[in-house]
Amino acid sequence: MKALMSGNEAIARGAYEAGVRFAAAYPGTPSTEIMEQFCKYEGVYAEWSTNEKVAVEVAIGAALAGEKAMAVMKHVGVNVAADPIFTVSYTGINGALVIVSADDPSMHSSQNEQDNRNYARFAKIPMLEPADADEAKQYIKLAFEISARFDTPVFLRSTTRVSHSKSVVHLDEPGKYEDKTGFVYNAQKYVMVPVNARTQRVEVEKRERLLNDFVETFPENKMEINNPEVGIITAGMPYNYSKEVFPDYSYLKLGMVYPLPEKMIRDFASKVKKIYVVEELDPYLEEQIKALGVKVIGKEIFPYTNEFDPGVIKDAIEGNLQRAASPYKESLAARPPNLCPGCPHRGLFYALSKHKAYVHGDIGCYTLSYMKPLQGLHSCICMGASIGMAHGMSKAMKAKGKGKVVGVIGDSTFLHSGITSLLNLAYNNSDALIIILDNSTTAMTGMQEHPGTGYTLMGKEAKKVNLKDLVSVLGIENIEVIDPLDYKATRSAIKEELAKDGPSVIIAQRPCALFKRGGIKPKPALKVDTDKCEGCRSCIGLNCPPIAWKKGVTKEGSKRKGVSYIDAALCNGCGLCAQICKFGAIS
């Protein structure tokens, strides 16, 4: 049987076919759909953990109990989870443990494009890298086999183009689940105090040697000898790009990117005269191959940055940078992603922009508000960073920063990694104002549950954390809860809290406009009264998708050059524009 599947759907399917019934993750593009698919299979346990570090620890716990466990995250999530990952490499895993890292070359939806193949080498953990959905399904199964056989965690690395491309996948019958759980007591192996860690450190090197032998015969490292003049060593999606433009070259396609098959690489080099290493991002394969003394061409001609496509590879190898050009030579207005119609963040950032504060942002839909016209935040580094950064800036600026430093953070992001920073802010008595943008979901990645929503990934009701109580027990005394679409109340809460000494938290509470369970029924669309509209464009300044400009609609006795109008098909009647129109033209 075959089906059209994305790489992410195929990873979920492959894990299920391999008899995996346990997975933990934190959502993050381009990895999210793996769990959303996996949780639908019968008999599985799948959870959204509060962050990636927790997800890996949950999976380790399950693996130590004897389960085949999977932890799933985007590339930067591995940074959060790095602490347990580096040491579980020492302990080994009893059952089986696979960590899926979905990398994002070109940063389609990320703050950096780090190359997580480096983690495999760094943590001495084997890594497989599929090139399309069919391979993704097959490789996750192999990853679990290798994990169990060598008592090691295994990485499966995907990239956005593997995760989000769809292709034909050949389905197999799902394997039967066998309950092998039980307690295994082995303190020397699982208690990583120095004396035991030193012993396990040696075990890691023994495992490395075994894996070095294993990769030489690993069937997914494939040599295709065609044209003996030119060969390409590659892995993952760049294999497909290369085959597309150079079908007759010879290939060494690596299914396993750590460790590398040294003998096989030397063998390939002996059969092919000129070798290119085709890889996105870091010269990861190239440096290791060059260290073997094998002569290859790599980043001398290929870019370090961004994902490739077939054209990039063809241009680099042929030395021809004349890519096909568009006949349309005028500049075209950009169409950046935007906050949705009725988004509660729009109200908050519109109000906040009036207070001339320095706003530290965080990861979520609201990061989009940095753009014109809202220009609502001024920094963004990583999940949870806003609170620590606001605190640090406030301390450094002393009196100059008083009433002017703000950190904003979404509810899911706050629960992911903001709690400890807020505790720090209270403990070290900051003057910064923190605004928690509570839209009751993980919106940016597509409406995932978290401990503040009251539901789990599997759709079960769960303990729902009360953000106000949580903030209070962390030591914050000044707490206000507001509706960010109530413009006046939002303005005055911000003004009041900025003026106070010591830390303050505003919880801006309103469910995401796309969130069905939020109980928000769209109200009738608003209309612009063109007799009253003076064409001041204040409402346009909200950058709300239904509000557009119609030029040339003038009026006697007015200087207006056009009017605003509202697309009734898009408007959900949130009423924010009506509150900021000075002429009462919107109702």
Binding site: H164, K166, S167, E244, P310, S331, A333
Partner: protein
């Protein structure tokens, strides 16, 4: 098609227009017709009213899900000015299907940039076949503006050598039962447009 030939379709438009659903349906149709098929797109940021594209590639054996510049035979643009954004990907003899509906980007609303004029005329001057249709209006006639994506698939099906019944079967499987009739009507509107 020869063994090595791979054809490419580019779907382009604005987040929320049902572009990914349309390219999913197209891929299912192509797979049912016996071809290898791959498609590529990016979820996430693009869905928030930003630009959305999806590459669909098919043939006897397809390697890359992404087409290279200058190689795409068919562009289906779900919004008028979006048809201009990816012309570097098209072959000179490409066919273009354009929904003539206009959705202003923020910079046009703010008065910083113009909305381009006579887009259809420009495309006709440069490409072999340009089909302009107001898919939103036709979708309204079919019963719901949200079927505009399926109207465009009707127009696309006229350019592809795959039996219309395969398309209709996939459309039937792609929507909940109560929406099937409306979507089949929208598909026919696109065929007849």
């Amino acid at each position: 098609m020869s063994d090595r030939e791979v054809k490419s379709i580019l779907f382009a438009g604005v987040g929320g227009q049902g572009i990914l659903r349309a390219s999913d349906i197209t891929c299912e149709v192509i797979m049912e017709a016996g071809f290898d098929v791959k498609k590529s797109e990016v979820h996430g940021m693009a869905q928030r009213g930003g630009c959305v594209t999806s590459h669909v590639r098919y043939g006897k054996k397809v390697y890359s899900p992404l087409a290279k510049t200058g190689s795409i035979q068919t562009l289906v643009s779900f919004e008028k000015m979006e048809s201009l954004r990816y012309l570097q990907f098209l072959r000179k003899d490409a066919a273009i299907i354009v929904n003539t509906e206009e959705i202003n980007p923020p910079a046009v609303n703010m008065g910083d940039d113009p909305y381009p004029e006579d887009i259809i005329g420009f495309l006709k001057n440069h490409y072999g076949k340009v089909i302009g249709l107001n898919a939103a209006e036709l979708a309204q006639k079919a019963g719901n503006i949200k079927t505009a994506n399926v109207v465009l698939l009707g127009a696309l099906s006229n350019l592809m050598n795959i039996d219309k019944s395969v398309w209709q079967d996939v459309i039937k499987k792609s929507f909940p039962e109560k929406l099937v009739k409306m979507n089949l009507a929208a598909f026919q509107m696109g065929i007849d447009a």
